[in-house]
Symmetry: C2
Subunit: 321 residues, 2 copies
């Protein structure tokens, strides 16, 4: 296990040193001094090689994505990320791989001032589990359960590109050369909407990050909040890459159910709509209103003002990809 | 992935509900309300099937051990465990397996009033990563770095039994029938020394839990504290099972380097010795003084008052088992 001892040196080379970390990496536990009047949010996400990312994914992207998917959950609570613990299971110690992996982990940590406070390195099939924590003022956080009938449904960014990139890797679709890099970046280096999450905390009635796909994650909000929803398919924010690579129906299906977007899906009451839009406009985050909640307990979709049935079998297929 | 949704129901059936958990399992993050004047300790440990436990291990033991090894780290800081996050990677969903695994997780959580606040369930080779957190009064925690020359070295419990059980499973040693169950229990259901850790917090100069083996873990303390140590081999607490199953040299080697003991190793100054022994005697924890720290920067051992060289190759072998 001597080689695995060496790994520790890679992880001790981080730049971020937070004042609230009394003791970081290197003892049985890290020691944190929480700030008064703040709640702590905690989330854990695992990426398994070949399941959550293609085996061909570069190590920097794997490191980035492992952090990003966790910070995306923190963003969905409207919290500010603060510390991560990293459990890395590796088949073997490859120093070049590790250096790139750590670069991917640390560049996102540095951007958001998140300190790696500990973890574990073990031998086994490649898998990464990160527990990320964040801070939010006491009792001020977003959840899935606060949405109300009549609230407007918003998403940040554009949907479906990561799923399109995955289809391209599998050879299921042909993409024009000049789109390949941008969609590949969406899949490999998702940008968690951390700042947007904190801005909407004051305005949104509910929020979730889109990891399973828009329909599935909106379903989580509807279930937790006991509401239904209608999505206006014409309004879905699709990238040029998606519009030009697929037929309209297929593009919409990916945006609805492709997953791996790591955009925020949130709901806002009529009263908070203008305040939220104004606050977010200063942050440079693109948002799109894609529908409205209702009392139906189901999710419906309309296209050109006409109801369109959701092909649930198709979504099930996508949600497993 | 529908089956994996079902798993959530198993984990939502816990009994422990802590007041400081504002929001538990079921949203993007858990929300914790930390107590004033407390530090939070955080640790992460992964168990990989076939590496950290034999493939034949029963699911209840796997669940127990995954929690126990983490609580053992919390104990080594002198802290009180409070919350865990569980990342479970499973090759397939087997409801009977899951029920037993959860029973193993929850019985230890219930005993220590630890709430499962979230996690992730993914498909892949069997592996469990737990991030455990605990509470300790501000700036009152044990670390590896406070030991001083002249301090006495103590361990809780008995050493080497878990390693003996592993040798028996591998068919490397023959154990008398009436010892088999007790040593198997030591391997499968280690008892983290959580209460002892909190008691010694007021007295010990350093502490660590013995997971890698006594020599290796004492080495961590010596390195962090910039001291050396002598271990009196005659004093090592060996079980009857270990004494009667192996030759003296082999028994001592397992106690020194077998690992997987999850006992506490700690150091106490001459001044605090009596206070610590008195305080711990009320807790029912067996402790043994096994040597003393010195200024040598190395670890030496004596038997019958004579120096005995440490066979470092042998220990290296054991530490990889």
């Amino acid at each position: 296990m001597k080689e695995f001892e060496l790994i520790k040196h890679y992880f001790s080379e981080q730049i971020v040193k937070r004042k609230d970390v009394v003791k970081g990496i290197g003892d049985d536990c890290a020691v944190i001094a929480p700030i008064e009047n703040q709640n702590i949010v905690v989330t854990t996400d695992t990426l398994v090689a070949g399941v959550h990312f293609p085996l061909t994914t570069c190590p920097r992207a794997i490191g980035h994505k492992a952090v990003a998917v966790n910070l995306s959950d923190i963003a969905a609570m409207g919290a500010k990320p603060s510390w991560i613990s990293l459990a890395l299971t590796l088949p073997e110690v490859d120093e070049a791989w590790l250096a790139e992996f750590c670069a991917g982990v640390f560049e996102l940590c540095e951007f958001y001032n998140v300190e790696l406070i500990g973890g574990d390195t073990t031998q086994g099939p490649l898998s990464i589990t990160i527990t990320a924590q964040g801070l939010t003022p006491v009792n001020s956080y977003l959840s899935r359960s606060g949405a109300k009938t009549g609230d407007w449904i918003y998403v940040t960014g554009e949907l479906g590109d990561a799923a399109l990139a995955l289809q391209q890797i599998k050879g299921e679709v042909s993409i024009e050369e000049h789109f390949v890099e941008s969609i590949q970046t969406k899949l490999d280096f998702p940008k968690p909407k951390v700042l947007a999450g904190q801005v909407i905390r004051e305005y949104a009635s509910s929020a979730i990050d889109i990891s399973d796909g828009l329909i599935a994650d909106l379903g989580h909000i509807c279930q937790a909040s006991n509401v239904g929803a209608n999505i206006v398919l014409d309004a879905l924010p699709l990238s040029n890459a998606l519009r030009e690579s697929l037929l309209e129906d297929d593009a919409i299906a990916l945006a609805l159910a492709g997953g791996d977007d790591y955009e925020l899906l949130f709901t806002v009451s009529e009263d908070n709509k203008v305040g939220m839009e104004t606050a977010l406009s200063n942050s440079g985050t693109k948002i799109t209103c894609i529908g409205q909640l209702n009392a139906s307990q189901t999710i419906s979709t309309t296209l050109n003002n006409k109801p369109v049935p959701i092909n649930s079998v198709g979504f099930e297929h996508f949600s497993q990809s």
